[in-house]
Each structure stands twice: as structure tokens, then as C-alpha cells.
Amino acid sequence: MNNSILVVVLASAVLYGTPLLFAALGELLAERSGVLNLGVEGMMLVGAVMGFWAVQRTSSLALALVVAAIAGGAMALIHAFLVVTLRANQIVSGLALTIFAGAAGLSSYLGNDLNLADQPAKRIFHSVLPKSLRDLPVIGPILFNQSLLVYGSWVVVIVVVLYLRRTRPGLNVRAVGESPAAADAMGINVTVYRYVHTVVGGALAGIGGACFSLSITPQWVDGLTSGAGWIAIALVIFAFWRPGLVLIGAYFFGAFSALPYTLQAHGVTIAPELLQSLPYVMTVLALVLVSSAGAKRRLGAPAALGLPYVREER
């Protein structure tokens, strides 16, 4: 029963959805503060390569995640400096970040320069729970045969939900994203809030990238996220900027990303390209659905998303 194709697909949906979940939660934090960061793909790839480098050097998975988070956060800092301090166009700056950091950019430069290609990871994330739980019918493989990355991502979802709903800084960041002028008048430092949330968002994207190089792939290949960062951005829109919905959406898109590999392993002979294009086509379809439903009310989008805040020009 646990080998039935549906269970296998759902289990790998969780596996493949986890990087999307980390990255989309990070992007959600940045966007809630009013900063649109289209550089998620680049931040993920730099996190993936630096996390992999750290595990090869130190054999410590914890340290690898820290390094991946710092690398992703450092990339986000460039974006924050350009769009918050220099008031640059957020769309172009995010694209620049993806070009700079992404496949055939810094991540590829670092991976080639540090000779990380074509070697297996020294340590990878394994399932942690006891075998009795993992062998439970249906929910065993889906929920309990997962690594710490998956359980960690659930913790992050809960933290983000509580942070945005139940804490003072969470309320403040929503104010900054909705109306920076009002927040400023309340004495909230708009610049600091935007910097912090953009950088934390980048750190989460970095961890999301490390999910690929330390768990899914698990090795370093140039451009190994293959568009996951962009799907994560779409996911935030698709989830109406709500962390709980991001969780569901991540596994939905995770299933489509996992489908080509699971079906091939089960001997299904459809052209692989057709299956591989599923996550991209589904992203477009999901965006169409959401935009036709929500275009009039802009459901959930922070009002000041993408706009620079300049105190003397409001």
C-alpha cells in the first residue's frame, strides 16, 4: 500500500515542496514589508552552492544550513541596499540579482571555482523518525518518512504565522507594507523593517536552495533549482500573502515538480519534457486563476508593495 503511486507522489510532493515553502515564506516576509524581491532564484542557487561547500568542508549539516542562510541573506542585502537606500526600481533590481547570483552567474562561478561539481554530498538529510512510525500505512511515508528540513519548515510556518498575527513587530511590518507613511508617523523605522525582512527572506531562500543540494539532488549541479525560485514568487501571490496557504500551495507545486521523476521510476512512458513542463504550466494557470478572481480587490497584496518610501516625497 505504501508503494502505491499516489502515496509515493504525495510523499515526494512534501520533499519537493519544502524548498518552495522556505523560499516562499521568505519572499512573503519581504513582500509584507513592501519589498518585492524577484531575486529568489538567485538567492536559492547561492544558498545551494554555499551550503554544499560547507558540508563538504565541515561535514556538518547544521553549519551548512547556517552558511546557506548567510549566503542567501547577503544576496538579499544587495537588493535591500539598492531598493531601500538607493530607491531603485524593485523589479529591475530583483532581475539583476537573479542574473548576478543565478545559474551561469555567481552560483555557477563559485561552484566551478571551488570544484564542487560531480561529487556526492558528504552528508545529507535523512529521515529521522523511528521505523514503526515510518511504516504506518499512507501517512507513514508521507508525513513521518521525512527529514529535519521538512519538520523545520513546519516550525517556520508556525513562527511566521504567530509573528505576523500575534506580535508587535509583526503588526508593525504589516503596517510598513500597507502604509509606510502612516507607519513612519507612528514612529516605526521603515528602513530598518524593510532591510531586516528582506535579509531574513533571503536567508530563508538560501535554506530553500540548500534543500536541493543537501536533500533532493543531493549534489551540486549548475542551476539545480530550475525555476523553483520563480514558482515560490508565484506561490506568494497564489496564497494571497498568507503563510498558512503557502504551506498548501508549496505541496501542490511540489507534487507537480516531483511527478516526472516518480512516474518515470514507475515506468510510465510519457515524454519526460511534457511532465517536466507541468510545474511551469501549472504556475501560469494558477496565476491566471488567482488574478481573474482577485484582480479587482487585489486580495491580500500589501498596498505599498514595490513602492520606495521617501519621507520627504510622500
Binding site: A88, N89, V92, A96, G227, E273, V288, S291, S292
Partner: protein, 370 residues
Amino acid sequence: MIRIERRLEQPGWLNVAVPVGSLVLAFGLSALVLVATGHDPLQTFRRLIHAAFGGQAQLTETVVSATPLAFTGLCAAVAFRMQLFNIGGEGQLYMGAIAAAAAALLLHSLPMAIVIAAMVLAGAAGGGLYALVPGFLRAFLKTNEIITSLMLNYAAALILNYLIFDSQSYWRDTTTAEAKVFPQGKMLPDSAAWPSWTLHGLGLPLGFLLAIGLAATLWFLFSRTRFGFEVKVIGDSPRAATYAGMRTRRKILAVMALSGAVAGVGGASQDGDFRHLLDPRGLQQAGYGYAGIVIAALARYNPFAVVLIAFLLGGVQNAGFTLQGADFPSGLVGVMQGLILFSALGCELLVRYRIRLASRARRPVPEAAT
């Protein structure tokens, strides 16, 4: 004390100073990356410049690299004019290449001039129709065109791979035993080989001349016609455009189709000028679409500047291919392109604002706070 003030008018010299300054700044930042990873920047840049612009052979190769970049740069510039972010130049170029290759294979027995014209038209149609997908979604459903056009890049790359590697398609060579083991595209007929000219030893392929002609046409369209004026108004202020009775939806469709068609002709030029078959690996190797965005931003959407900057970045890309190796890691070209775009954005600050060094003493804070 540094003050940042909004400029009331933009002086003309900034149009030259910003791109030049961004390039200088980007080279400086790239040098930092090289030093940080233990490379000698001066040595690397010297080799890069020699490999790109060092002689007639190198310059000819640079023009080869610059040709697709000029098309994708124009593609991005056309859409950015109206604040439409068409990131799909890459996929539109692939679709243009597919359509143009089909036209060449179908019409193989016709005279060369007709085949070439058909390839250009087919390329434009392929790219334009593919760009109309995000255009249509944006115009009628307000779907974010950035993400949809980008997702379609991945889809187009998979279509390319499917046609050559995983099907018995019209484009695939299935005649020899070798081609069955190592899949590749059918060779295009001789009548589909685009001519090229040599000027003082510098090779000029038809595609590059076509890009220059296209730049001139686009310049005329955008600065001398009603269409261009309306595009500019819609880009700067959609609300004003609506009040003035301009048809925004039609313009979105027209501009996206035009933008995609330009990239599609770039794909046709890849078939006709350089590759002479549908070549998925080669087309996907260079990242023409992303480079086009950098070029359009640096050129500040001026079509002639796009061609000039495409030539410069084509040089960098050409050098990247030639030098790839241990002391020239392969991601360096992308790093430099990203840094150029970052620098252009930073320098853009100087266009919109001016930075003044004002002492506090001379500008006392008014006593009654507002």
C-alpha cells in the same frame, strides 16, 4: 552632510555618463569578486579584452555573439518602454528559431531570397505569438507578465528538447544511424544559409545588419509616430492614457507581440546565420534573454544604444566562451552582467536625484517644524 534631492530636469550628458559610469563601476566590482576568490583581476581583464576585441578574428566572433544579444536587447527595450516587463525573450527566441527552421525545411527548393524572407517572417511570427500568451493574460486578466513570461521560457526550452531529443519530429535528423544515437536537428538547405559580408576583415552577418535596421525602425516608431507616443504615455501614466481615450489593452497586445517578434527574428538569425540546424543545446547555452534585459536597461531603452551595448556585452560573452577554464571560471560572465545591471540601477539614482554636499550651518533647520 549629504543631501539627496529630486532633480527638476535631467541634463543631457547623463545619458552618456550613466552607462559609461555603470560599466566602469561594474568592472571595479567584478575585480573585487575576482580578488576575493583568489584571481588576478588585471590579468583576467587583459585576457578578456584581448579575446573580445584584440583583432579581426576576435571582433568577428564578438559580432557573432552580439547578434542575438542585439535582438533580445531590443525585445526587452520595446516592452520596458511601456513598463511591460517581458522577461520571456529567451523563450521567444527559441520559438522563433523553431518556426524559422520549419520554414527553411519546408521551402528548401525555393530561391534563397524567398527562403530568407520566409524565415524572418516565420521567426517573427513564432516569437510574437509566444509573447502574446503573457500579453493576452496581462491585457485581459491582469496576470503578472513577469512570472508568466519567465515560466514560458522553461516551457520553450523543454519544447526545443522534445523536438530534437525525445520525438521523431519534423526538425530531427533521422536519416543516419549515428543521428539516431546522438540526436540532432536536420541540416537546413543551402538556400537557407544567410549571407554575410566582410568589411576590412570584419565579418558582418545578415542578422547583425538586420538588427541595426530593426533598431532604426524601432527608433522611428517610438520617437516619430503616434503609436510610439501613446506607448510612452501609457507607460508613464496609465490613468492619464485612459482619460485621453487610449486603448491600453490593444497597446499591451501590440507591444508584447512586437517585442516577441523581435526576439523571434533573433532566433531565425541563429538558424540562418550561424547554426544551420535547430540546435537546442547551443541555443540554451548562452542565456541570451537575460543578457538582453541588462542591455536594455543599460541602453536606457534607446534602440541604437542597445546595438552598441550588445556589441560590448557580446565581446564579454565571446571572451567567456573562449577563455572558459581554471583561471576564468564559467560563471564570471553572468556575474559581470549582473553587476553591470546593479551599477546601472545605482547610477540611475544620479539621473533622478542629485546628491549635494551641504553644510548644516548654512541651511539651518526651520524652527517651526511642519
